[in-house]
């Protein structure tokens, strides 16, 4: 399995990962890599500020297309601060709950696939 490292600081052009738009651009890059069956390393080096909005868009949204075991095997985190790990855990739990409704997954997939 290939490793693809994404430097989030470089991807969003700053230390504040706060907006839906920046999250969306990261999401698209992760999806592209996962479609190549790669393992994605998300490097949070130099990220000082994270919001649920950004994480919902970048990572929570992945649960509309991929199942939890697949993401567990293909996503790796680096340099994420302890308090941000807690936030990400909440975002992931919320995403799993949100997409439990099958209809939402279908609709979500439709939007992604156009």
């Amino acid at each position: 399995m290939n490793d693809i490292r994404i430097n989030i600081f470089e991807q969003i052009g700053g230390s504040a990962a706060v907006s839906t738009e920046d999250g969306e651009s990261l999401y698209k890059r992760i999806v592209k890599a996962l479609e190549q069956k790669a393992r994605v390393i998300l490097d949070f080096n130099n990220i000082e500020l994270l919001t649920s909005t950004f994480l919902n868009s970048a990572i929570g949204q992945l649960y509309s297309r991929f199942k939890s075991p697949y993401l567990k095997a293909h996503l790796k985190l680096e340099n994420l601060k302890k308090e941000d790990l807690e936030l990400l855990k909440k975002v992931v739990e919320r995403a799993k709950e949100y997409f439990k409704d099958k209809g939402r997954i279908v609709n979500g997939a439709k939007e992604v696939l156009g």
């Binding site: 700053g14 504040a16 706060v18 907006s19 839906t20 999250g23 969306e24 000082e48 500020l49 994270l50 919001t51 649920s52 909005t53 919902n56 868009s57 929570g60 949204q61 649960y63 509309s64 939890s68 993401l71 567990k72 996503l75 790796k76 985190l77 994420l80 302890k82 308090e83 790990l85 807690e86 936030l87 990400l88 855990k89 909440k90 975002v91 992931v92 919320r94 995403a95 709950e97 949100y98 997409f99 939402r104 609709n107 979500g108 997939a109 939007e111 992604v112």
Partner: protein
């Protein structure tokens, strides 16, 4: 239950116009405006009295006002912005020296007066208006004005970060759900109480409108806010999950012994520490006011308690 029955609303006087063809409305503000149910009530009343004016003149008369909590400038500014969008003239009159100094320090009179902006007051939290796509400018504003070390030297870095996060969650909420063009903000630091109040306002769509549309119900303003601040509740329907922002802030402010107040539609909702209360106004506010009050004297020790492993995340 809070009640509006005892609130004495300010006097509204019609005057002879200085500008030909314009009607003049003089609004006399009360002695005191604070971050509480009554304070917001006056500003909602002011919005109600001015919402249908067009090509008129509005005078804000502060001759009786000796106390005005500066973060409320975000609410007043948002309302005045709407008043000016309807081509009305806005004049602020009879400020006592103390309030005038306050409005100069936070640049409010640069927006609604004749004040020339010079960066003289590096420690004041300024009144600002942002476009919804200016989140990077907003970040700079928080870093260099609201949370600058010169203003609040005692604060831990973790607390600074948690405050930043909370404020951004509200900013993003306004961007995603507010259907607005601008976001208005202002803050005030109370050094003796070690408290920081920060207010964010948008005028566009109220929480009630969003929630009613989503649930296909007709809730009161306060019920709609209560629904929206509950963990897992969101009006989003696409493939980006929601329903977490308010619960994160509530959880943090509970630990921090802070406060959150939300005014939207005709609803008022407040959580102080663990206790929540709500009420309703006789008028609608066509957007959302969120005031966050942080306890700055907080070392955030509770954040060291949880140990989450990376392998448990996904």
């Amino acid at each position: 239950m809070l009640s509006v029955s005892h609130i004495r609303y300010p006097k509204v006087v019609r005057e002879i116009p200085l500008h030909k063809g314009r009607n003049v409305m003089r609004y006399e503000f009360p002695d005191s405006l604070s971050n509480d149910f009554e304070g917001y009530s006056v500003l909602l009343n002011f919005h109600e009295k001015t919402r249908n004016l067009f090509l008129d003149e509005v005078i804000l008369d502060f001759k009786r006002t000796s106390w005005f909590e500066a973060n409320l400038c975000a609410v007043l500014g948002a309302v005045l912005n709407s008043v000016e969008n309807d081509l009305n003239i806005v004049r602020i009159e009879n400020l006592i020296p103390k309030i005038e100094r306050l409005f100069r320090r936070n640049y409010f009179l640069g927006h609604f007066g004749d004040m020339k902006i010079r960066d003289l007051y590096k420690t004041a939290v300024k009144y600002r208006k942002f476009r919804v796509n200016e989140e990077k400018l907003f970040k700079n504003y928080l870093d260099f004005e609201l949370l600058a070390k010169a203003v609040m030297p005692d604060m831990s870095n973790l607390l600074r970060k948690k405050i930043n996060e909370s404020i951004f969650e509200i900013f993003n909420n306004a961007v995603i759900h507010g259907d607005c063009q601008n976001i208005f903000s202002c803050g005030q630091y109370f050094p003796t109480k070690k408290r920081l109040d920060f207010t964010i306002v948008d005028i566009g769509v109220s929480i009630k409108q969003r929630v009613d549309e989503f649930l296909r119900q007709n809730l009161s303003g306060e019920e709609a806010i209560q629904w929206a601040v509950t963990k897992g509740h969101t009006t989003r329907t696409g493939n980006i999950p929601g329903g977490l922002g308010f619960s994160l802030i509530r959880e943090f402010l509970e630990r921090n012994d802070g406060k959150i107040q939300i005014i939207s539609g005709n609803g008022f909702w407040e959580q102080t520490g663990k206790n929540a209360k709500s009420s309703r106004y006789p008028y609608d506010f066509p957007g959302t006011i969120v005031n966050l009050e942080f306890n700055i004297d907080d070392k955030c020790h509770y954040y060291l308690l949880s140990e989450i492993k990376e392998e448990d995340i996904f």
